[in-house]
């Protein structure tokens, strides 16, 4: 599904992403973890062709994403509020996204009916523009728009960060369902180790732009990760890197 070859991005002399090779197969569920500034969002953006790679390439279904359009047909993503058209109401936005995938209103409504529980009555017909929603509810709109597109590849950047515990629980179930029952390849980044180890079968751990661990999730994964992130262990020598993407 995804093949990353020799990918590199440098900002002001600091290498923020340096991935020699990663292969992600169809139907895998990937969890991306790492401290702030590890390069998770930059990697996401390079997979989505939002940032020009200094070196190397990202292949989706064997095709280089840079300059291509075909991957947009089967890829859905939500990285941040910058993906939402904030002066539209959620319904208008969802119909617009549905329209891009040749779905009419009735079809969109039908799909949204399946998300009633996830939206929890806070999104549809609330008489608000997206910009007036809380960050958590904006995230719900973004994730909803992704699911509407029935993607083969779903990419979410820290989706658990702003949503309430009930929604976190529901989102985890949705991700598992998409992956198990619909064969969707999912890539989710998170700072919550419990969530990623629960949802994802394979964990990529990034540090300073490099994937330093690539592990299949097992019962010991959580403690392994906790050991890495635990204070006083390997982090003692960890210098603080400025996060290019998150500290605008």
């Amino acid at each position: 599904m995804i093949e990353i070859k020799d990918l590199k991005k440098v900002y002001n002399g600091v290498t923020v992403v340096n991935v020699p090779h990663v292969q992600i197969n169809k139907g895998e569920s990937i969890g991306l973890v790492g401290n702030n500034g590890a390069g998770k969002t930059t990697l996401f953006r390079m997979i989505l062709d939002l940032i020009r790679a200094d070196k190397g390439e990202v292949l989706l279904k064997g095709e280089n994403v840079a300059g291509a359009e075909a991957w947009k047909n089967y890829t859905a993503s939500y990285l941040d509020e910058g993906f939402l058209i904030d002066y539209l109401t959620p319904e208008e936005y969802l119909y617009f996204i549905g329209g891009l995938h040749k779905q009419n209103k009735a079809q969109v409504d039908e799909k949204l009916a399946g998300l009633t529980e996830f939206f929890n009555g806070e999104i549809i017909n609330k008489g608000k523009y997206i910009r007036d929603l809380s960050k958590g509810n904006q995230c719900k709109v973004g994730v909803g728009a992704c699911l509407l597109q029935q993607p083969e590849l779903l990419m979410l950047d820290e989706p658990f960060a702003n949503i309430d515990p009930s929604t976190q629980f529901r989102l985890k179930n949705i991700l598992k369902d998409q992956n198990k029952n619909h064969g969707v390849t999912t890539i989710v980044s998170s700072h919550d180790l419990n969530h990623v180890t629960d949802v994802c079968e394979r964990i990529l751990l990034m540090e300073k732009g490099v994937v330093i661990k690539d592990i299949a999730t097992s019962s010991s994964t959580l403690s392994e990760l906790e050991e890495y992130f635990g204070v006083g262990q390997s982090t003692a020598t960890y210098s603080v890197a400025v996060d290019k993407e998150e500290n605008h």
Partner: protein, 490 residues
């Protein structure tokens, strides 16, 4: 404490994105401000001559005293429109252990830092020194200056008070603006009373009885404290910010459905314009441009060459005014557009179609200028074609070179956000191209041929639009990372 606040304020100014990192913008800003200051200073230094010309039968001092209050009435109206509330900036201080009085004192003081408080001194200061000080002595001149300061302060805090009130209830602004307009209209339209006489009643008496200066000073101080205590009682974020809560509804524009994807994109853009403050004010400013012709056409000295210029601005003001910030309007969700299934060619087609729709409306609105002859309307139509053919393409070409983010929720007046070199460069071809083609013909007295060539070029570009869209798309693909990165930079 207040000095710390001022320090922060200065830092905020110099470090804000609006101040502009590029030298071109700074120079341009400086020139514009200098230009306005120079005009004001020119008027100020020649006010005695201007007044003598304007009302030759009156005594100079009488005429001067007459206009002061009128000026301050207009001043309040302008402030209501243009002056920004210095409010949300206090947000980070509210939860800190700082006395409320210092926060409010800071708010109230920074409110005085407005260009509006500078104009009266530039406009009237020279006259006071040149005429009043000579005829009535230094004391009178001093009390005049003090009155100017006091009236400016009074206006300043009155306008801010009304604006704050209006944040809570939109009707207040309408009522206030309506009230002041009626006050002005009562004199100049219906002639019920004379504001000049009222103004002279005060300022004329001020010459004889300098102690009257106490009146405006008391008014100003009262207004200051009125504002101060109002703020003190309402120092809550929801009341300071200008967010108004009302139910929003989804709307559809059925006509656009016929255009498929492109129609959807236009529908989104129409919503962008109508639902955000800055593009909305750009559109409204465009409507005012429809009166542009009245300024030029009523002056018989202006030849046909001006009609090209005026016609271009009237039918194409939207293309120019809105188009110059193209793509920046969508900066906040540009990433979303890039990863969505929107084809960039469709995106461009939507822009062209939007330009066409709005320019057509603008052309229809300018048809009453037929009063100045059918030829005027014909020139408008030629420039309408020119706008759709050339200017729309030029604007989109420069849009590919515009990397500046725009915050849609801020007003358009005196807003420099998003202004960069590309806007400056853009203005040259927009203004020069039609003349480069037209003037040589005019020089050899083939005016009609010149106009015909303009029309033919416009139509040629409209017909070959698909070709230009392809060119622009290819161009965009070489620049999109830079554009997207610029737009991500808040």
């Amino acid at each position: 404490m207040i000095s710390t606040f001022f320090d922060h304020e200065l830092k905020a100014f110099w470090r804000s994105k609006n101040t502009g990192k590029s030298i071109a913008v700074k120079v341009f800003m400086g020139l514009i401000i200098l230009y306005f200051l120079a005009i004001a200073a020119f008027i100020g230094f020649n006010l005695d001559k201007i007044l003598a010309k304007a009302s030759p039968h009156d005594d100079l001092v009488v005429a001067f005293c007459g206009i002061l209050l009128v000026y301050y009435l207009v001043d309040v109206l302008m402030r209501l429109q243009l002056q920004e509330l210095p409010t949300l900036k206090v947000q980070p201080y509210l939860q800190l252990p700082i006395k409320r009085n210092s926060v409010i004192g800071y708010l109230a003081l920074t409110a005085m830092l407005s260009f509006f408080n500078l104009w009266p001194f530039i406009l009237f200061g020279p006259f006071i020194f040149k005429v009043i000080a000579v005829t009535s002595g230094g004391l009178t001149a001093t009390v005049f200056i003090i009155s100017l300061i006091a009236f400016s302060g009074f206006n300043n805090y009155l306008a801010l008070y009304i604006k704050r009130k209006a944040n809570l209830n939109g009707w207040i602004m309408l009522i206030a603006a309506g009230g002041f307009s009626l006050l002005v209209a009562g004199d100049f339209v219906w002639h019920l009373y004379s504001l000049k006489a009222v103004s002279y009643l005060f300022f004329g008496n001020l010459i004889i009885k300098p102690y009257l200066v106490i009146l405006p000073v008391v008014l100003a101080v009262a207004m200051y404290y009125f504002n101060f205590y109002y703020l003190k009682g309402n120092l809550y974020l929801e009341e300071l910010s200008s967010k108004k809560e009302s139910a929003k509804s989804s709307t559809e524009i059925p006509l656009l459905n016929r255009f498929g994807h492109v129609g959807d994109l236009i529908a989104n853009e129409v919503k962008l314009i109508l639902r955000n403050k800055r593009p909305r004010s750009a559109l409204i400013m465009g409507l005012f441009f429809m009166f542009y012709g009245l300024i030029f056409y009523t002056n018989p000295k202006m030849g046909e060459g001006f009609k090209i210029f005026v016609g271009m601005f009237m039918t194409g003001i939207f293309i120019i005014n809105y188009g110059q910030f193209m793509f920046s309007w969508q900066a906040s969700h540009f990433d979303g557009i890039l990863v969505s299934k929107v084809k960039f060619a469709d995106f461009l087609k939507a822009k062209y179609l939007l330009f066409t729709i709005v320019s057509t409306v603008a052309f229809i609105l300018t048809t009453p200028y037929v009063y100045f002859g059918w030829r005027t309307v014909m020139i408008h139509f030629i420039m309408y074609l020119w706008n759709l053919g050339i200017n729309a393409t030029i604007v989109l070409y420069f849009a590919n070179r515009n990397y500046k983010r725009i915050d849609l929720s801020k007003g358009a007046s005196f807003n420099w956000e998003g202004v960069g070199a590309s806007q400056l460069l853009l203005s040259f071809p927009l203004i020069l191209f039609p003349y480069v083609i037209y003037l040589p013909f005019k020089y050899f007295k083939y005016d009609n041929v010149g106009l015909a060539v303009l029309a033919i070029i416009g139509v040629a570009f409209i017909i070959t639009r698909d070709f230009w869209i392809k060119k622009l798309e290819a161009d965009f693909y070489t620049k999109r990372y830079k554009i997207a990165e610029g737009f991500r930079n808040k």
